[in-house]
Structures are given as C-alpha cells and as structure tokens.
C-alpha cells in the first residue's frame, strides 16, 4: 500500500471529488449566510432592553454551545422527522444544523462587534429621528461588520472544515468523496494526502486573507 504513490488515481477521480468540494463549499456558504442572519438577530435580542428577548438569546447560545455539532446534525436527521412525521433529508438536516450551530457562535461575535460601535453613533441616529431598525441597518451594523470581517472569516474556515461531518448522514462532501475513492480503489495514502493538501490550501489561503483584512481594518 505504501509501495507506489499513484497520482493517476487522483487525476481520474477529480470530477467526483470536485462534486464533493462543491457540496462542501455550498454548505459552508449557506451556513455562513444563514448563521450570520440568525446570529445578527440573536445578537440584537441579546442586547435588547426587553428581558424576554435577551434571556431567550442567552439561553439559546449557552445551550447550543454546550453540545457537539454532530449531535445537532443527528437531532435534525433522526429526531425532528419523528416530531414532524416526515424525513428532513440529509442535505437539509445538515444545513439547518450548521445554521443553528453557527448562529450561536456568530451571535457572540456580532454582539461584540455591535458593542464596539460607539454609543454616540446611536445617539446621532436617534437625534435625527431615525428608528431602531434604521439605526441598526444604516449606522451600527455596517460599522460592526467592518470590524468583524476577519473573525467572521476565521469562523467560516472552521465551518468549512466542519462540513466534513456530514458523512454521518451520508452526504458526499469533499472528505466523504475522497474516502469513498480511497476505500473503493484501495488508495488510502494518495487520497488522504490529496484531501489534506486541498484542505490546507483552501484554509491557509483563507487565513492569509484574514491577516490581510485585519491589517487593512487596523489602518
């Protein structure tokens, strides 16, 4: 097995692996979008002066952050179908689990971002008669997100790696696709080395981007 390193097998399975990578990227992208949207809402609730909202948000975040991601995926794949009487499907259980899970982490990041915007900015908006949502939308969130871009991206890189967990609900992401080829062709070394290289390149490029953006923002 360690005898000859067969690069042909990698080339041959590229189309199959590419499909897997597309799924990984799709899950990451949608997970970020949904997670940021839900996370923003949770952050605003957490900072709300209405006790019900802040309590709900705090409970949600603490609860989700106390369970492993794979458990949330199982909930949606196995338990939710029992409750609603029909299957959720692999893709949607994974996606919903990612969004629910990421929202908890993003909301803490976004909360810090919102709090980093000076109080006077809100006053300035209020003083000109803007309402709560207008102030968030036009004044606070744009500034908050600008400060948060690097850390949100870092979280996105982690999510990209975490998408490999979908093998538990038999989705063919990049990792699963690599594993399938590896097992079927008996080429474990080649496939797992290649998979590692791909993850490294994508995540390292992401980290570099984070570094550059951080510098840009610090300027």
């Amino acid at each position: 097995m360690f005898g000859e390193f067969d690069t042909q097998i990698v080339v041959k399975s590229l189309p199959f692996l590419w499909q897997g990578l597309q799924l990984s990227l799709l899950l990451t992208g949608l997970g970020i979008l949904g997670g940021v949207a839900a996370g923003t809402l949770l952050a605003l609730m957490r900072l709300s002066s209405f006790k019900v909202f802040s309590l709900f948000s705090a409970t949600y975040v603490n609860l989700i952050r106390s369970v492993p991601l794979i458990l949330v995926i199982f909930w949606f794949y196995f338990l939710v179908p029992l409750a609603i009487g029909r299957p959720v499907g692999s893709f949607y259980s994974a996606l919903i689990a990612f969004i629910i899970f990421e929202a908890a982490y993003y909301s803490e990041i976004i909360r810090a971002g919102i709090q980093s915007v000076a109080r006077g900015q809100v006053w300035a908006g209020q003083a000109t008669g803007l309402g709560y949502w207008q102030i968030q939308r036009y004044i606070v969130l744009p500034q908050a997100f600008r400060n948060m871009v690097p850390i949100l991206l870092t979280q996105a890189i982690i999510l990209f790696q975490d998408t490999s967990l979908v093998f538990v609900v038999s989705l063919r992401d990049f990792m699963t696709a690599s594993a399938i080829v590896a097992q079927k062709e008996g080429r474990l070394v080649e496939m797992y080395t290649f998979a590692a290289a791909v993850y490294f390149v994508i995540c390292f490029a992401g980290s570099m981007l984070v570094k550059r953006l951080s510098k840009e923002i610090a300027r």
Binding site: G120, A124, Q126, G129, L130, P142, Q143
Partner: protein
C-alpha cells in the same frame, strides 16, 4: 418652546439632575455652563429624550418628551443636535451623512436631499469636501458637517452639547462662527459650552449648573456682571481669569 419642569434623574443611587426647571422661548439662545460633572450634558440629552428622566416633565412645542406615548422619532427629527465628538458616520461620505435622515425620516428624494446637503455645505464653506469621508476632515470641519447634518432636517430648535470641547484651539472659531450666524438668524438654541465669549456675544440667557442643580438662570449681562451665587462667581473667576 422648550419647557423643563422639575426634572430629576438618577444613575442608580447617584442623582445627576435634581429638580431642574427652566424654559426656552422661540428664537432664544440659552447657554448652559458649569463645572464638569454638574449635569449639563445630561440635561441637554434629556430635552430630546436621549436620556430618560425619572421625575418631572419636558415639553417641546407642546409635545411631552417624557410621555411614554409620544412619537419620539418624529419629535427628535424636529430638534437638531450636535455632539461633543461630532458622531459623524465614519463609513459614509460627508454628503451621505447629511442625506441619510433626510431620505429615511423626511422621505425626501435622493435629488432633493443632495441639493439640500450641497446648499448647506456651501453655507459652511465645505462644498469641496462633499465626497470625502469624515476621517479625512479636520475636527473643526467635522463639527461643521455635523451642524449641517442637523440643519438638513429643518429643525425648530438646535441643541449643542459641548460642540467645541473636543477641538484643537485653532479650530474652535470656525465652529463658533457658524453657531453665531445661526443665532443671529433667529434659531432657537440651547448650548452647553465653556465658551464664555460666545455666550456674551449671542446668548440671551445663561444657565449655571452645579451638582445637578440649576444654580443660576439669568439674562446674560446680569449673569456676567452680578452673579448671585458664590459658586457661579467662583466658576466665572476661574474661567475668565485669562
């Protein structure tokens, strides 16, 4: 136009405003001064409800700021406010800073808002800075833009919260000049400031605060020439000795 009626306010157990009462007539310019921590900035923020009060009532143009049912956004859109640290939106151009509330609150069209912004920028002599970002302007320029942003809403009164305290000395006058011009045009103004020269020049009345109380509330000449309380005398002696 503005009536402040026996208001008190606490931060926890600490009382920041104690039974303050005063009023501002249409077209009047009132300067509020006093040592730091005397509650003057808090008082002016109560006038448009940025800070809530626990006791008493404030009315602006016969609308009660302190009533729960009042449409605060509508009321605030009629009162301009200028802050110590300018509070321009750093992610928007100067022009957009002045246009935002015009479009979103007054529902003016983009063209209308821009035209208004440009005419105000011309008035404060910053026409050539319209497309710059606040961070590219000097402090004095930023504060003039902040005044323009407030004026763009066609306010019935203007509140100034220490508008020159964060400025380098050489930039104070360019801001005061704009304020003097406003005052002479008949704008109703409440100004928290230590600029006694400005007070002498345009204020109709001066309010002196100390430890959350309004200690003196007198016509400008009277306040400077014959301050009644010891504390106001001591304050004036300190601030005017140069």
């Amino acid at each position: 136009m503005i009536t402040i009626d026996h208001i008190s306010k606490w931060y926890g157990k600490f009382q920041v405003l104690a039974d303050c009462s005063t009023g501002i007539e249409r077209g009047e310019v009132v300067v509020v001064c006093g040592p730091s921590g005397s509650g003057k900035s808090t008082l002016i923020k109560c006038v448009n409800g940025l800070e809530p009060v626990q006791e008493g009532a404030i009315r602006v143009n016969d609308v009660a700021v302190t009533d729960a049912g009042t449409n605060m956004a509508r009321l605030r859109s009629q009162i301009g406010m200028v802050f110590q640290h300018f509070e321009l939106y750093p992610h928007m151009s100067v022009l957009n800073n002045i246009c935002l509330a015009q479009e979103k609150v007054l529902n003016r069209s983009r063209e209308e808002a821009r035209a208004k912004a440009r005419s105000l920028l011309q008035r404060i002599d910053l026409s050539d800075q319209a497309d710059k970002y606040p961070g590219q302007l000097s402090g004095g320029q930023q504060q003039r833009v902040a005044i323009a942003r407030a004026l763009a809403m066609d306010p019935i009164a203007m509140l100034f919260d220490e508008p020159t305290s964060a400025l380098d000395p050489e930039m104070i006058n360019e801001v005061l000049d704009v304020m003097v011009e406003l005052a002479t045009e008949g704008m109703t103004m409440m100004v928290v400031t230590h600029e006694m020269g400005f007070a002498r020049k345009v204020a109709d009345r001066v309010i002196f605060m100390d430890e959350g109380r309004i200690v003196e509330d007198a016509p400008t000449e009277e306040f400077f020439n014959t301050p009644r309380s010891d504390r106001a005398q001591a304050f004036l002696a300190k601030i005017l000795q140069h």
